[in-house]
């Protein structure tokens, strides 16, 4: 690859950035809601990376929409299917996390993670 600023490189770097930002928020932030958002960001980052693995330079979407569009001109459809599944799973986990946070707030009145973080040896 000659140039650093190509479509694939930008996408890969963006996905790494999202994953790292998401994980950083999860490890260092004190507010439960922000941690849930951090998980969501990290999951989005991994999804972007997964989709990007299917990209083949110069090819188009894997749908036989036009007459005469051949399979050899298409990108890889499998990562797109994987990401579909992964997004839905991520949604499920986030919804559940938010429900837990709401109930926890109702019971304890605080969103601060310091009470639950750390091992109670």
């Amino acid at each position: 690859m000659n140039s650093l600023v190509t479509v694939e490189n930008i996408v890969y770097l963006a996905s790494f950035g999202l994953i790292l930002i998401g994980l950083f928020i999860v490890f260092s932030d004190k507010n439960l809601l922000k941690i849930v958002i951090g998980i969501d960001i990290a999951e989005t980052g991994v999804n972007i990376l997964l989709v990007a693995t299917g990209y083949i330079h110069g090819k188009t979407a894997p749908i036989f929409s036009k007459l005469g569009l051949k399979a050899s001109q298409m990108v890889d459809p499998v990562p797109q299917a994987l990401v579909l599944t992964s997004i839905v799973i991520g949604f499920g986990v986030t919804a559940l996390a938010l429900a837990l946070v709401v109930r926890l707030y109702q019971k304890t009145g605080s969103l601060d993670v310091s009470n639950i973080r750390g091992l109670k040896w």
């Binding site: 790494f16 790292l20 894997p62 994987l82 429900a99």
Partner: protein
């Protein structure tokens, strides 16, 4: 202190990530990948009869994953109803929404539902399918639930639709298992004419089941979150 340590660890991990993936990612772009997906897309049109290769992957080649995904959604809706259900289900509204909001949502509802149905039904021809279509239909329901004060959410109907749709999905698969093809989720219906609505065997039916399931599940999930007594500070 925790922030500094986390930052250092994350940056180290990031550097490691970039160098490792950099070495393997860059060479593979630009040439024909020898991957399973390429083999699939070369054969997808004749083997499944669906114009949308991603759909044939989602429903047939990787249909088992889709079954698992549908189960995860089911779990999420179940968890939400378990956690957010209080002693009584609020049917009355707390705020009085404006007239525009209320009427507008009622007017939009049929169009949104129609659009969602279109997306579901054409899943094997255009991008979309059961999942986005179901979400769109659910969105139509959301805006009515959130703004109207005369519509109530029937829990039982939602659960019934959910369960039946899920059983339909498994049922269609079981027909493949015990029928002629001998494996779960095999495509036992004819392939039809390519690029028309009635093509691609069981794909439209499975996507329809998924669309119903996703729509009813999301409606139920948002319903239990929005109408629960636990999210409100003004209440208990």
């Amino acid at each position: 202190m925790r922030r500094v340590i986390s930052l250092v660890l994350i940056l180290g991990f990031g550097f490691y990530l970039v160098t490792v993936i950099g070495k393997i990612a860059f060479p593979s772009s630009g040439e024909q990948k020898g991957s399973v997906g390429v083999a699939i897309v070369n054969n997808a049109a004749e083997q499944t009869g669906a114009a949308n290769a991603v759909t044939s992957v989602v429903v047939l080649y990787r249909g088992f994953d889709t079954l698992g995904e549908v189960t995860v959604l089911f779990l999420a809706a179940l968890g939400l109803s378990l956690l957010m259900r209080g002693e009584r289900f609020i049917a009355a509204k707390i705020f009085d929404e404006s007239f525009i909001l209320k009427t507008g949502s009622f007017l939009l509802f049929p169009f949104i539902t129609l659009f969602g149905l279109y997306i579901i039904v054409h899943g094997h021809l255009t991008p979309g399918g059961g999942f986005p279509g179901g979400v769109i239909i659910a969105t139509g329901f959301f805006i009515v639930i959130m703004t109207s004060d005369i519509v109530r959410l029937r829990e039982n109907l939602v659960s019934l639709l959910e369960g039946l749709a899920g059983l339909t999905f498994i049922g269609l698969g079981i027909v493949g298992l015990f029928g002629t093809k001998g494996s779960f989720l095999a495509n036992f219906m004819g392939k039809g004419v390519f690029n028309t609505l009635l093509s691609a065997g069981i794909i439209p039916f499975i996507y329809a089941a998924i669309g119903v399931k996703v729509g009813s599940e999301l409606t139920g999930a948002v319903g239990s979150m929005f109408l629960s007594p636990y999210g409100r500070e003004e209440n208990e």
